[in-house]
């Protein structure tokens, strides 16, 4: 549990805004250990999403520059890899799930085509094999009628179904690392609970570590092992989740915790409220 699968050293992202240069990620270093869920928390605009994009090599060169001493993923330094090499790694060794499933899926392809393309590209399997593996993945993310979903276009699916398809696609090659950027923010609470239960079961089974980007301290408390608190491009706190809530080390963390909204008094267990028919 303690070997890092992803080790980030001094990652910076600078964006070009007209003539100005703006450093949105400023010398960020952290380790993601095998099988853990590491939360990256902070307010909008603090640089969480840009950190994720930089790790995946998704910051377009024209937009700004990414610098890092080293981004180590299983012995490879992602900081020096070119785009062709990154293409072999993305989706296979490190995957991502974004906030808005409708923009992450291509509207002109059926869900099944998109899921199968990942398998065919990375695992070099044939059509039939890819379809069987896709059906299996959809079943594992809790889809009861995987055939129908595979043959549907994204607009024919509900938000929860779309996000399940994305998760199945991201997890299809059992990557070492999954970056999930606000994966359930667009979903209803009951759907969020379902999707996160399926996602964590799936990653536990394959030993995938998750970098969970969120602004929701409820998700940090309930689903993460460790947390990084980010503010203005810097990590101000790196700690175990239990510690974070019990004894925040940085004044900004304390501030963030104080504004946390959640149900003030959680509902009592079923027995306490239930009827006795």
């Amino acid at each position: 549990m303690s070997t890092p699968v992803l080790s980030v050293q001094e990652l910076s992202v600078t964006l070009r805004l007209g003539r100005q240069m703006l450093t949105v990620v400023d010398g960020v270093s952290f380790d993601l250990r095998a099988g853990e869920v590491l939360a990256l928390v902070g307010e909008s605009g603090c640089g969480k999403t840009k950190t994720a994009e930089a790790l995946l090599g998704l910051v377009p060169p024209g937009l700004g520059s990414v610098r890092a001493k080293r981004i180590d993923l299983g012995g490879k330094d992602l900081a020096v890899l070119g785009e062709p090499a990154m293409r072999r790694i993305r989706g296979r060794e490190i995957s991502m799930v974004f906030q808005e499933p409708l923009t992450a899926l291509d509207p002109v392809f059926r869900a099944g085509q998109q899921l199968a393309s990942v398998l065919r590209r990375h695992l070099r399997c044939g059509r039939t094999e890819a379809r069987a593996a896709s059906l299996d993945m959809l079943r594992r993310v809790g889809i009861a009628d995987p055939e129908r979903v595979l043959d549907s276009y994204p607009h024919e699916l509900s938000g929860g179904m779309r996000q399940r398809v994305i998760i199945a696609t991201a997890m299809a090659c059992r990557p070492r690392v999954l970056i999930a950027d606000e994966p359930t923010t667009a979903l209803d609470v009951t759907t969020q609970a379902q999707v996160l239960a399926q996602l964590t079961a799936l990653t536990r089974e394959s030993g995938t570590a998750i970098l969970l980007i969120t602004h929701d301290l409820g998700l940090v408390a309930q689903y993460s092992d460790r947390a990084l608190v980010m503010r203005r491009g810097r990590i101000v706190e790196d700690t175990l989740v239990g510690e974070l809530f019990r004894k925040p080390g940085h004044p900004y963390t304390a501030e963030l915790l104080a504004t946390a909204v959640g149900l003030a008094r959680p509902p009592a267990g079923r027995d306490a409220a239930g009827p006795t028919p």
Binding site: A144, E156, D188, A193, G218, A273
Partner: protein, 343 residues
């Protein structure tokens, strides 16, 4: 639906006179696109988005309507505002049925029922300054002498905590939180008794959200304004509402005073909804996931609307729709539609 005496119907009040009483309201869409046959929806014709809903909003109280996407809460809110055609039922505002009013009567009534929508970017005209936007209701309803209207508009702006310096600004020159305040000021300027607010804080970030919530609470206190507050966010509802109705697949499955609903939820769906919210405390048990997807409104289940996903389903649930009762031990203001309590 058989006619029952009014005190048996939903809502929270039976001793106080309600400001708004919704009775057996049905909203149905028969749009071609919504009902075009597709996978799993063959033969479906029309969608009943609101199924015989009863609801009361008392003067000076905040009644929240919670539910997930597709539950019908926005359809219900829009029907109350008469922005959607209603299939059947009554919308009694101070005892008068809004559905039976002629154009002139409705226009006069609307002064007292105003609306705030989710996205102020869409609900404010981009071509009108703040002052123009706030003057319009006064001109439309011909309130007070024309000369005093700009002043009244500015008073509304101040009431929502905005500087009158902003009066010549256009929506794109304001932040999201400021825009939503302008939308709220526009709703206030005609001095209504009821504001129907559909997800008014959902598009705002946490700090802007908190300020709008404080403002709504303050308006209830100082002006005795009533709100029908539509939201999917249970933590917002808990901080704000006096009473709550929970909607699922077009039906109000539970209605109760807010404190009671959060402390002693009676309907299995309400309990599942509350149990799904992740609590920001690592010592708290993790969220419990419901099983299955909500049924489609195109092919609603027989019996109870929730029975297919209900962890506490009993024998009559699949076949017979439950009537409305008070949970045992709860006050008469707590109503639930569930067979578990029906004996």
């Amino acid at each position: 639906m058989s006619a029952a005496p009014d005190r048996q119907l939903g809502g929270v009040s039976d001793d106080t006179a309600a400001l708004l009483s919704v009775r057996r309201l049905v909203v149905r869409y028969s749009d071609d696109v919504a009902t075009r046959p597709g996978p799993g929806r063959r033969g479906a014709r029309g969608v009943t988005a609101v199924r015989s809903v009863n609801l009361d909003v008392e003067p000076g109280r905040i009644h929240a309507l919670v539910g997930e996407s597709g539950s019908g809460k926005t359809s219900l809110a829009r029907a109350i505002l008469r922005l959607l055609p209603v299939e059947s039922g009554q919308l009694l505002f101070r005892g008068q049925d809004l559905l039976r009013m002629n154009a002139g009567q409705l226009r006069r009534a609307r002064r007292h029922i105003q609306a705030v929508f989710q996205d102020p970017q869409a609900s404010l005209s981009p071509r009108r300054s703040v002052l123009q936007t706030l003057r319009e209701p006064l001109d439309h309803f011909r309130l007070g002498p024309a000369a005093g209207r700009a002043e009244r508009a500015m008073a509304a702006l101040e009431a929502v905590g905005l500087d009158t310096e902003l009066r010549y600004r256009y929506p794109h020159e304001l932040s999201g939180g400021q825009r939503q305040r302008v939308a709220l000021a526009r709703a206030l300027v005609s001095e209504p008794e009821l504001i129907v607010a559909d997800e008014p804080v959902s598009s705002l970030d946490a700090s802007a959200q908190a300020r709008i919530i404080d403002l709504i609470r303050e308006l209830r206190e100082t002006r005795g304004l009533a709100f029908l507050f539509v939201s999917h966010d249970l933590s917002v509802v808990q901080r704000l509402a006096d009473s709550v109705s929970v909607m699922y697949l077009g039906e109000l499955v539970e209605t109760a005073p807010a404190a009671e609903l959060f402390a002693r939820p009676a309907h299995p769906y309400t309990r599942a909804l509350l149990a799904s919210v992740p609590v920001p405390d690592p010592g708290h048990p993790p969220p419990v996931a419901l099983i299955g997807e909500p049924s489609s409104a195109l092919t609603p289940p027989t019996g109870c609307v929730f029975h297919m996903r209900c962890p506490e389903r009993i024998e009559p649930c699949a076949t017979r729709a439950p009537g409305e009762t008070c949970p045992r031990g709860a006050g008469t203001h707590h109503r639930v539609k569930c067979h578990l309590w029906n004996n």
